[in-house]
Point group: C2
Chain length 447, copies 2
Amino acid sequence: MNDTREVRLDELRALLAVGGSALEERIDDLHASDVADLIEGLDEAERLVLLRRLRPEVAADALSEMEEVERPAELLLQLDPGQIAAIVEEMADDDAADIIGGLHPQLQAEVLSTVSVPDAAQIEELLTYPEDTAGGIMTREVLAIRESLSAGEAIAEIRRQARGDSDFYTIFVVGPRRELVGVVSLQDLVLADPDTPIAEITEDPPASVPVSMDQEEVGRLLSRYNLASIGVVDGLGRLVGRVTFDDVIDVMEMETTEDILRFAAVSEEEQIRGSTADAIRSRLPWLIANLFTAVAAASVVYFFQDTIEQIVVLAAVMPIIAGMGGNAGTQALAVTIRRIALSDESLTERWQVIGKELMVGLVNGFVIGTIIALAGLLLADNPLFGVVVMLAMWGNLIVASAAGAFIPILLESLGADPAVASSIFVTTLTDLVGFFLLLGLATAMLL
Amino acid sequence: MNDTREVRLDELRALLAVGGSALEERIDDLHASDVADLIEGLDEAERLVLLRRLRPEVAADALSEMEEVERPAELLLQLDPGQIAAIVEEMADDDAADIIGGLHPQLQAEVLSTVSVPDAAQIEELLTYPEDTAGGIMTREVLAIRESLSAGEAIAEIRRQARGDSDFYTIFVVGPRRELVGVVSLQDLVLADPDTPIAEITEDPPASVPVSMDQEEVGRLLSRYNLASIGVVDGLGRLVGRVTFDDVIDVMEMETTEDILRFAAVSEEEQIRGSTADAIRSRLPWLIANLFTAVAAASVVYFFQDTIEQIVVLAAVMPIIAGMGGNAGTQALAVTIRRIALSDESLTERWQVIGKELMVGLVNGFVIGTIIALAGLLLADNPLFGVVVMLAMWGNLIVASAAGAFIPILLESLGADPAVASSIFVTTLTDLVGFFLLLGLATAMLL
């Protein structure tokens, strides 16, 4: 696949260099996703030449397929408002709103004033919804029919409503004030006798979502009920749009990236393929925050300097106890964060997780503590030294496991994101507790 | 939503306790996904009572909707083979294969011998494909028509082929030996004049996948081309099944869980809601592996004991240098792992990532190193001490960033999973390098 892409890129560059219609003909043979992929492989200058040469509808399809991280908005900035408007008019309304939403306000206004009035009104309405809600990811292009039709009439009505290029999977059945009353699958409609009343094949929608619902929650509902498309309703229950499976797949990919980045204390705004400067800016604040927590943990060591001076080998054991606590805590954290993300449990069930993790820490801490104590005995010829190491490791792993479950559950029940910065809290705690147990016990039992 | 679930569970328990048809009537009102959710909330004994009382088709729908982590296979073990066969016969073939695949071989044979012959043959064929391939997640239930039909004839043919309960979104167009030649969307078929030849509205499938393709790759293709359904072909290009968006969403959820667990060094087999014993077994081997790497890093400290004895404050600085390296390495790791997961880059582009991360380490290491050096000057009244701390931190953050990018790219280009155990390699390396730089420089410059 990578090879094909390299070959295609070279070919495209060659076609860009010459005039004539060969470029356009070649592009027409490709799927819009593949064109998008090629655009991503070009440099800024080449992209601009290509975009200016593509017909607006071809440019629109390709831009719709580009990954959001590639920010086509920046690319468009270099076209004039009229060219942008021509491209945006060829897009589905949700993609158009995404693109226009990425422009600065003055350019937005210029472009919208050039777009035809009904399209501009739709786009402006979509721009009023926050990006990460059902309203922000929906399209207003829905097929809606009245319950009083027959299957045959409904098909005629759909022929009338459907624009050629937009996919639909579910037909929404609405009442007189456009309130959502049910859904008919295209498949049932095709399979039904033309005289069948629509009411007879209308089903209750297994779910519909308000415009303000968080996009992750929309994804969960669509996935839960295996829906290709879910209706979006306003405060009065009127159908205003729909979200389809492909929007949800995009949301899931983005959310996974965010979760993994947050888990590793990277700002979720960092673009996966962004610039070096972006990466530095996104990570430095977290590193500085972490420096303060690391210094706090290290101050425990500073406090016990006298003990280390007398038993220097403790300095070698310290990072082992702290590091293992960090590992065990991260394990509990990862499992708990996924548990919160995937399942719809009551708070009571959630709190029981902490009991489970406490047990895991108790058992694994005992095993790891025993192994390290035996190794410790080889280093220092003192059975008490083994006991100190054992107890410090055991205690730290118990605290680590319990904290790995407790911290995300606490954050979640406070309404915060359970993933964000959890790992910093957990590792700071395990460093603190690890150093304190090891050096405190050593001071009490070995000096 | 949690409240509704608690209320429903209580109601269900009450209905389970009494006889009569009230239970069945209540269950019939619910969506299969909600029934599945309730079953997950019951304990083992209650689940069994409920399963025995549900009609096979209701049980089949609910079991199909249960999350794989809840392993319905274990639940089924307690029914007799005849009951299992009755339930499995009501399922879609892919769900039936998943369930039967989870039984032990003898019970599999017993159940399959009771299932009707054509169903059993389909299920047995599906069982031959590895679970994580296109063949393992596909259904054999496809709508396939010949290119020579008209749109009207095609709709009649689809009426004949379609079973009432299975969703379809794409109609596959096949040649005389069932080789896949194109696709027709149901929507184009409905919109077309009945006399239109199918050949006229047949499109090239933007992609089709071989049975052996990895399920993640299938997901990427479906998502790339925004397909509701993708055809699966055998070695001769003949259509053998299809994978739909809902299978892909399930795969994506599972893969995200696996990625996050692997990243945190938890075995990806750990069930998110599994037992305490499972959690202990899944995590202990990783902790033991980590113990060895931690001891390896600590041996550097052991080697420099004399230095620490003379400058005890180094023991307090050590964990800061090592910990910050771990953080910076994890940041680079997370970004690189997602980059590999999401994009289709050439190897050349991948290797450039290491250059970028090296720059990030250079800049962030300089900033963090300067801050810690200034703090260090306050602790030890010696400018050289500040220089040592600065250089150790800077060096470690450069190595950390570069290794965070290098290790997953290396694993990926060796054909291994880039996420698995990456974090252990990186943190071991940053511990080793951090300790060595700090203590080595201190020995050379301060003693």
